[in-house]
């Protein structure tokens, strides 16, 4: 579907609706291609993973002992891109509860 631009001329007060140019449409389609969408989902997963890892970074300090289950969980987080490689898997990782908007995949739960 061709995207459209609402162009308002403040001088005349005239509004016109025009199709995207071929170049604009190509840019739009590229941004919304499955490949780019999948890539952005992976980026989002990495951002969430980073936040989760930061939450337990303090356990890596020399004066604290990191429990083994936390070590295992952190390794699982690091391995997410390797173990989840398609858009369907990304969607499962990014799934959120409809009401609370909390992530629902068990991998995000700290042991």
């Amino acid at each position: 579907m061709v995207q459209k631009k609402n162009i308002f001329n403040a001088l005349t007060g005239e509004a016109t609706l025009v199709d995207y140019t071929a170049e604009e449409q190509a840019s739009y389609d590229d941004y919304n291609s499955t490949e780019k969408i999948t890539a952005r989902k992976l980026e989002q997963i990495k951002e969430i993973r980073l936040e989760k890892l930061i939450e337990t970074d303090y356990l890596a300090n020399s004066d604290v002992v990191m429990p083994d289950n936390v070590k295992t969980w952190r390794q699982t987080l690091r391995d997410l891109p390797a173990n989840h490689t398609d858009e369907a898997a990304y969607d499962l990782l990014l799934a959120r509860d409809a009401d609370t908007k909390e992530l629902t995949h068990s991998v995000w739960s700290k042991p």
Partner: protein
């Protein structure tokens, strides 16, 4: 023959006589009002009648009442003995203030337009004497000229009425350049010809935006060329925000990118707003600057937050407009409004 005193107003006046057409009645109407029955001499069938309520007749005003009814064959007339002579006018200039009773001059006695400003005291027209439609009944003027005047009460001169010219009114503030509601389609809203040499700084409100069917990023970019309008891909800058649950939102673009983000990932079917300042967008002697803020519900988390953003071209170009663009999907625009204000120094 000469005489002393004023010339009589009327030199001769005959007694007035009224002949009646009689009938079998006791009531008749006089042609002149009288004080009482003694003001007339009534004659019936050539016999003078005795006045008084115990006698032949009474009279008051124009009502004549007989003690017994006449018949149609009777002849009857009366002579007005005490009738006021109506033809005598006071001599010119002879009626002074003392001859007039208080409140004797009624509205109808005053000629139209006869009360001029000389007859009004300086404080006669006050709040009580002004009509509430004094202003609203006048013709409206929708566009003010510099020479137009406003009536004021001068606080520095005991409230004296003075006027102020529109050209002398404080002029600082926001001047609406344009306001419009976009149509119901499209993923880009373009506003051309809103930046001119008139103002150096602009404030833009993008109100009640709503993404119809997709989570999307909202970007801004500049336009050049006025009515012909073309995109100006020359921005660089970044945004940084914060949302619920202690989460930052940030991003950046290289110099000479086409657009800068003003809302990073907006949830669809949610109202959101953005405001932006455009500094020196038109004057090609300076670099344009865009900075502003948006608040919205973030699409992936459903958390509310805001971002601040700042963008600037890497060159000096005269920009005549701007556009906001969704990265995906269309606006649900039926209630959105774009308002552009020019900022005027006070």
């Amino acid at each position: 023959m000469p005489y002393i005193g004023n010339t009589p107003a009327e030199k001769y006046a005959a007694f007035d006589v009224q002949h009646f057409t009689t009938s079998a009645t006791t009531g008749y109407t006089l042609t002149h009002a009288v004080a009482n029955e003694n003001d007339i001499r009534l004659v019936i069938n050539n016999v003078v009648q005795q006045p008084g309520s115990s006698y032949a007749y009474t009279a008051s005003g124009t009502t004549l009442t007989l003690s017994s009814a006449t018949s149609g064959t009777d002849t009857m007339y009366c002579v007005f003995l005490g009738k006021a002579v109506q033809t005598v006018n006071p001599a010119a200039g002879s009626v002074g203030t003392s001859q007039l009773a208080d409140d004797a001059v009624t509205t109808i006695k005053i000629n139209d337009d006869a009360v001029n400003s000389a007859k009004l005291s300086s404080t006669a027209v006050d709040n009580t004497n002004t009509n509430s439609t004094l202003i609203t009944a006048q013709t409206e003027k929708s566009s003010l000229a510099d020479a137009d005047k406003f009536l004021i009460s001068d606080s520095a001169a005991s409230g004296a009425l003075k006027y102020v010219q529109k050209s002398n009114l404080p002029s600082g503030g926001l001047q609406l350049v344009t306001s419009f509601t976009p149509g119901s389609e499209g993923s880009t809203i373009v506003v051309d010809n809103c930046f001119t040499a008139t103002y150096d700084r602009y404030l833009v409100f993008c109100e009640r935006l709503r993404n119809g069917n997709s989570q999307a990023r909202l970007d801004v970019y500049l336009r050049t060329g006025g009515s012909s309008g073309s995109d100006s891909c020359n921005l660089g800058g970044a945004y940084l925000g914060y949302r619920y649950n202690n989460q930052y939102m940030s991003g950046s673009i290289n110099p000479n990118s086409c657009q800068g983000t003003i809302a990073s990932n907006v949830e669809n079917d949610r109202w959101y707003n953005a405001m932006m300042y455009f500094i020196q967008p038109y004057d090609s002697a300076y670099t344009t600057n865009i900075q502003g803020q948006s608040a919205y519900r973030e699409g992936s988390t459903g958390n509310y937050g805001f971002i601040n953003f700042g963008y600037q071209p890497d060159n000096t170009v005269s920009h005549t407009g701007f556009a906001i663009q969704l990265s995906a999907g269309n606006f649900n625009q039926t209630q959105s409004t774009i308002k552009v204000y020019g900022i005027v120094d006070s």
